[in-house]
Symmetry: C2
Subunit: 373 residues, 2 copies
């Protein structure tokens, strides 16, 4: 009978912090492992092509029913599911609801949970508050990209947008680009730029110069590394000539670039092209107005016959050594990312095991003996 | 600050039982409400057409990696997501892993969890052991169908397959068809039939005749209500002439019928045709070999030009009074069902509120004040 007993561990946000969920250096390492596994193919996500981002509930613009949620900024529920192999060998999902109105209540726009499950039996192993899993793993990906795509001698970093995502992206970029000494910040809200500058000044003494730029151009010119993470539906316009040869442009959010540059003179790397292919099946052309990522521009341009798939490279293939990372000091490399459940599962798994070692969390019993089987 | 605090309730299987999860009479009532809401349109599920069953992780037949799960019977992970309106006004999901090998370990084939979330903020309200939610809500649907599609004077019930699903389906059928007095059971394993017979004998004294039939034909002939719930990939063959005029055939699982009968002389009702349309997008023709439901035969026959969509009726439209239920005592009605996350959310919500009233469960704190927002 004892063998039929199932327990699992619950970790609230405070326990996640104690167990190291905010450790960006470790997260960049773990996300590097994830890309290597993806490049080898040792993972399975949901959907027809096994590479779906997840399943979304979205709401009508004009609901016919009084209680039904109404479409609005970030208004959705989403389940993101994955199996990840290698030393992880774990299944799991992230499930969240999102509503920008939450912020007025002092709670996050999205409220996220991760559950990890035994890959063999499906039994729950852990349930975790996942707001920090999500924020930190999202921030880590630009750093993983930088490892393969930025020039090692990069010194100047431009941060376009000064919110939480820019902050966490910077944390991973400086973890990898250890020679960074100058940061240029642009945000349409100067107070946000000042807040991010203060954070960097306090935590990264090696950054001897922090500039609050008056425009995107001012921030981007001379930058070796550019990270764009603004919210809202107007994407920052960046002209080709502002971008220095050898630049690494990390794109966790939308951007407005000249297609002629993107298609003919940039190098185009994404987190996982198959996920965009899954989106092309799950959403409808034109894709970019639905989700403003550079990868959804690629979907539109493919549909329009303006590009071919062989023009797009996967970071996983680079991490697994199948194709080359940066080839020379001249390439202008654009790294687009859309987020994947394999990240949440990997980072959740890492923090869960740390928590278990530290004796953190609440053990929950599912059953001693199942009622039906 | 107190307003930013988020707590939610955890209910294990034992607490779910105490809170009434096995109350089939109540579940049939609640599922009736669900079909009424579905007929009105007051719900949203996931995916492109807002009617997806869910997102599935399935595994390769021959994995290239030592740890990767291998495709096998019921081997999958699945997230099923829904918003349900009316008095429920709740979002939620069922997440589970499934592997038939579990049974050898004394644990259920599938291990299921339901989470309910505030429809406005997305905050978790409850996490529940969902094996019984799932078993009971699945069993309830034939009863809801019977309410609209069976003859009120139905006396003889045939149960094809004698497992857990047959038992729970019978519980809902007898809840609705109160004049049933005879049950005929057929299963390829006589021991299973005997077990189900013993259960019915013990719990339903109004059933004065229980027959263990020697064949499907013997069970089905003279039956007013037929329920087919066998597992395995060989579906029970039922000939048209075995089916009595006025029969109600409830199909939670696969069946083998003459297409000429189904297409030309039966009435075809399903739980929600839009969900099958979503499957036609998520899976690939031919659909029936992937998922052996009568509804996936309809998808194949539509693809082959053998039928048209107007030949299929939704139980929700009947429950909401948009179209008629049973029209006469001659119709042979086939009710096909595929299962939907709205059921899990509705039944989970009902049991959760009962548990809260009874003071059951473990309150879990997500955070008092979020770390980031």
């Amino acid at each position: 009978m004892s063998s039929t007993k199932i327990d699992f561990l619950y970790l609230n946000e405070e326990e996640m912090v104690k167990a190291g969920v905010t450790d960006m250096h470790r997260c960049v390492e773990v996300m590097g492992e994830v890309f290597d596994l993806m490049g080898r193919g040792d993972y399975v996500m949901g959907g027809k092509n096994h590479n779906s981002h997840g399943i979304m509930i979205s709401f009508p613009d004009e609901p016919e029913f009084p209680n039904m949620p109404k479409n609005g900024p970030d208004r959705r529920f989403m389940a993101m599911t994955a199996y990840l192999g290698g030393r992880f060998n774990i299944a799991g999902e992230k499930w969240y609801g999102s509503n920008r109105d939450n912020v007025e209540k002092g709670i996050p726009r999205s409220i996220l949970m991760v559950m990890l499950n035994n890959a063999d039996t499906g039994a729950p192993e852990a349930l975790m508050s996942a707001n920090l899993i999500s924020a930190v793993r999202t921030g880590a990906i630009p750093g993983v990209g930088a490892k393969y795509l930025a020039r090692p001698e990069s010194r100047v970093c431009a941060l376009i947008g000064a919110g939480v995502i820019s902050r966490t992206c910077f944390m991973s970029l400086i973890d990898v680009c250890t020679k960074l000494d100058t940061v240029k910040i642009y945000d349409i809200y100067p107070a946000a730029s000042e807040k991010l500058a203060a954070y960097i000044r306090q935590n990264y003494p090696q950054i001897h110069t922090i500039e609050l730029a008056g425009s995107v151009e001012e921030a981007v010119r001379e930058a070796d590394v550019v990270n764009v993470a603004t919210s809202g539906k107007v994407y920052p316009r960046i002209e080709e000539e502002w971008l220095k040869p050898g630049v690494y442009v990390s794109l966790p959010a939308g951007i407005d670039l000249d297609p002629d540059f993107v298609l003919n003179r940039a190098r185009r790397v994404v987190d996982n092209w198959k996920m965009y292919e899954a989106w092309s099946d799950e959403l409808q052309y034109p894709y970019h107005p639905i989700m403003g990522l550079i990868g959804t521009y690629y979907l539109d341009w493919l549909a329009e016959g303006r590009m071919t798939e062989d023009m797009i490279e996967n970071l996983g293939d680079i991490a697994a050594g199948k194709i080359a990372g940066r080839k020379n000091d001249e390439e202008k490399i654009l790294f687009g990312m859309g987020g994947m459940p394999v990240y949440d599962v990997a980072w959740g798994h890492t923090v869960y095991h740390q928590a278990k070692e530290m004796g953190l969390g609440t053990t929950l019993n599912l059953w001693d003996k199942p009622y039906l089987y």
